[in-house]
Structure formats: structure tokens, C-alpha cells
Symmetry: C2
Amino acid sequence: MATSAAPSGAQAVRRALGVLQCFRHDGPELGVTDIARAMALPISTAHRLVLTLVAAGFLERDPATVRYRLGTSVAELGQLHYFQHGLHRLDPVLARLGRATKASASIAVRSGDDALVLIGGTVGAESSDGIRTPLHSTAMGKVLLAWAPPGEDDLDALPELVRLTERTIGDRDELRAELDKVRAAGYAVNDGESEPGIRSVSVPVLDADGFSYAALTLRATPELITDDRVRWFVDQALARVDQVAALLLPTR
Amino acid sequence: MATSAAPSGAQAVRRALGVLQCFRHDGPELGVTDIARAMALPISTAHRLVLTLVAAGFLERDPATVRYRLGTSVAELGQLHYFQHGLHRLDPVLARLGRATKASASIAVRSGDDALVLIGGTVGAESSDGIRTPLHSTAMGKVLLAWAPPGEDDLDALPELVRLTERTIGDRDELRAELDKVRAAGYAVNDGESEPGIRSVSVPVLDADGFSYAALTLRATPELITDDRVRWFVDQALARVDQVAALLLPTR
DNA sequence: CCGCGTCTTCCCGCATCATGGAAACCCCTC
DNA sequence: GAGGGGTTTCCATGATGCGGGAAGACGCGG
């Protein structure tokens, strides 16, 4: 994984956490065998892990279908994370920014080899919270890469550069060049590189050392974010980014 | 359960999950030794667990203070839980109920030996999401107990019945009598039993078998929920409870 | 109605893996 | 520069998780 050296031992724990992560990709509920398959584990092992996770409240079994879903402990920790990181204070800021620009404003951080949307995306009724998106094919991902702290800035460590659309950057050198441009400009644009007909601009939320802690992103259609208005959207984002930085994690 | 039969083995996993749960009670960030102390674990063991959790993204270390806080994986799973359980569809319902009653509307489920607020409580700017509250001293707790499914209905299995205020029910027989009244009335009231000057009413969200899957609660001051208006608040809650039940977990 | 495939659950002997004591280390403070 | 708080690393030991396999539980179709 990107997260470099996994501590050699601790495989039981790693596997248990992996079981939880299984619930990322697939549908809402999983059976023991689904999990075993997904993790290439013997069924009995998967079953034991699941039992332990259920006992701790991290999974719960649907009595009807005998399958499992995420449990209340997960919800609790999620909420706690939300407050620990001061995200509740950002909600109104993003909402205001969204109203002012008519675009969808969101905050994302790096999580492993993806960008993870922590809040935002509330344009229609759909929220895209908790969505993982690739780093190489999104504006937020480019921002996170462009100002990545040392150790996370190695593009060769990235898994794939999957081409999601015709415009997706699929080559590492090309990506390197793009990131240079992003650094020079101070913002990143994604023009249909992850999804046709979607354009977004993203600016970095920098920490004290000048590394990107998060990315503040505005997302809409090219009809709204026209070529000559890109700069305006960037400025709107930049106008709030200090406030965002101040509210993110002022926990001490 | 009340976490009853923990599968005999699996102590590594149990401990790792326990480390995560540490972040419930205390302040936002914990050091390795804090965790070791909290769990009565040798420091080296705690350290190894933390390392594994960090590698999986469940914890992250603050580079400045060398302490740890909940990581992005936790946020992601929390969001996933939120959607898996259809909670996003409940938000507007609760907001409407809150506006109509001027009280704070919330949804809670049982989690272990506590009631856990999943959404709601947005009266001022404060949200009480993710808050654990005792079962015996809250309206939602009484509801969850009164219609508890078999296996979770044993009051003697509850830990303590701590008296939080003068009015808190501290005796199991007294609680049994109260639950009988709750069942007969179809709703529960908490009149300053968890916190002086706070009154709340709660109605059960029943599943197909007639057991409480969740509790829908309205919370305010006694000035708002006066004695002769309790029934009105109950009716307001009951008027929405079917909708809530329909939106909760229609996942199949 | 019975046999078959697919699921979950349980059991148990073996070797692997987590364990935790101890020591090195790092950084502040006094 | 000694002292105390914390973190990190190492390593021999045996407890502990491992996973093959067998036993239930269901649902389906012949």
C-alpha cells in the first residue's frame, strides 16, 4: 500500500480491518463467503473475524438475510471523527460557498491512494460524502498530489492511473507535468477527466509546512464553469480557504 | 448480547477494536501510553496495535504532538454506515419534525448497553450525533428497553443504573415498573432524569416483529413540553414514526 | 420427497504469530 | 547534564489465531 511499510506482524488485526474495508466497494450487505472471497481468506477464518467484529459492534447481522452490515460502533466512530476534525464547523462554510457559486463545494483529504470526500457535494439531494476518487483524475486529487508532504509525493508509488475517460491522464510523466502546472497556478482543474460533462476546480488547504492537508473543490458543469470564469471560481474558493484552514483541526 | 459471548479467541482483534473505542470517552487525541493505560495493556503491545491501525488508515498521527486521532478510514466507514442504513433520508424528516415542534428531534438505536444517537439533536448549532447515553435514564433508552428483542431485554444484564440526577431511576424493579408503564402508554418520557431542566418524549420505531429497532425522540425544556402538552408532542412523533420506519433500512 | 449445491457454523491439532519485558531513544524541563 | 516523560525497536517464548474439514441449515429442482 501507499502507507508504506505495513508492520510485519499483526495479520489478525490487519485482516479484521480489511473485512471492514470490504464494505467500501460492494453492496450494502455481505455474507461470510462474500467476505472470504473478497479477501481470499478461508471461510472459517473470515467467519471468526466476523464474529469478533459483531461482538464489538463494528458489524451487525441482518436477522432476515443472514448477512452482515456495518454496525453502530462504526457510526459512532465516524461521528467522533467528524467532530474531532472540526468538520461540523465547515458545513455552513461549504454551504455558503455552494450557494454563492451555484456549484457543489466539498472538502477532501488523501486516504491511502485515493482522495476521500469528507464533506460536501450537496448539490442536488445527493451527498458524495465518503466517496473515494482516484488521485490522478480529479481536481482534488491533483491538488493533494501537487502539495503532498514528503513520503506521499512519489508518483511511481501510485497504483495505476486508470483512464476513466478519453481525457484522463494515463501517463506518469504527463501527470508530473500537470502537477507542475498546478503548483505554478495555485489551483487544479479537472475537465471531464473523471466523468464526461463535469468540470471542477480545486485549491489546496495548506498546513503550517506548506503541504496540502486537504483540498477545497468546486464542481459543476462546463456550462456553469466556463473557460473564462474558471478564474472566478478559483478566487471564490481561495477567498474561503483560509477560513477552512482555520476551522479544520484547530483542535488544540 | 450486551456483548455477551465474546468468541473465545481473537484477542488481538478485540484489543485493536478496543483501542479505537478508546477515542469514545476521552479528548480528541491520545498518545500510545494513554491508550495503554486506558486498556491496561503493556505499552509495547499498545504501540504495535496503533501502528497497525495507522497503516490501515483507522488512526492517524498528528505530526506535531506525537499523538493519535481517528483516521480517514473511520470517516469513510461512518459515511457508509450512514447511507447503508438510509439515515440520509431521515435528515429532512427530522428537521421538519423539529421545526414543527420547536423541539430537537433525534433517532437513536441501541448499541451495547447504551443508546446511541444516530442523527438529530440539531437544536442550536450543537449536534448530539454519535453521543452515547444510558438506557435507564433517557426517554429513548426506556423505549429501546421496553420493546427490546429477546436476548436484549434482561434488565439484570445492564451494568449499573447510575443516578445522574435526583430523579434518575436507580433501582431495577422501579425501572421494570416504569417500562411497564411505557409499554402501556406507547411512549416514554424523561423528565430531568438525565439532566435537570430537560424533558423529552420518545416513541419506538418497531420492526416487523414488534421489537424496537430505534427510538424517535423529541427533546426540549419543560417550558416547551408542558405537562398538558406532552401528549401533543407524542402525537407529533407518532405521526412521523411510520415514515421513519419506512425510510430506515429499506435496503433490500 | 429426496438429493444436491450453497450457505453458515463449529471443532481441533499444529505452527505461526502476537506477546510483553527490557533496553535504546528522543525531547523537553529543571 | 542528569532526570523524567514519552515513543520506538528488538527478540525469545508459548499462547493464540489458523484453516482444513465435517456438520448443520436452507432452498431449489427433478
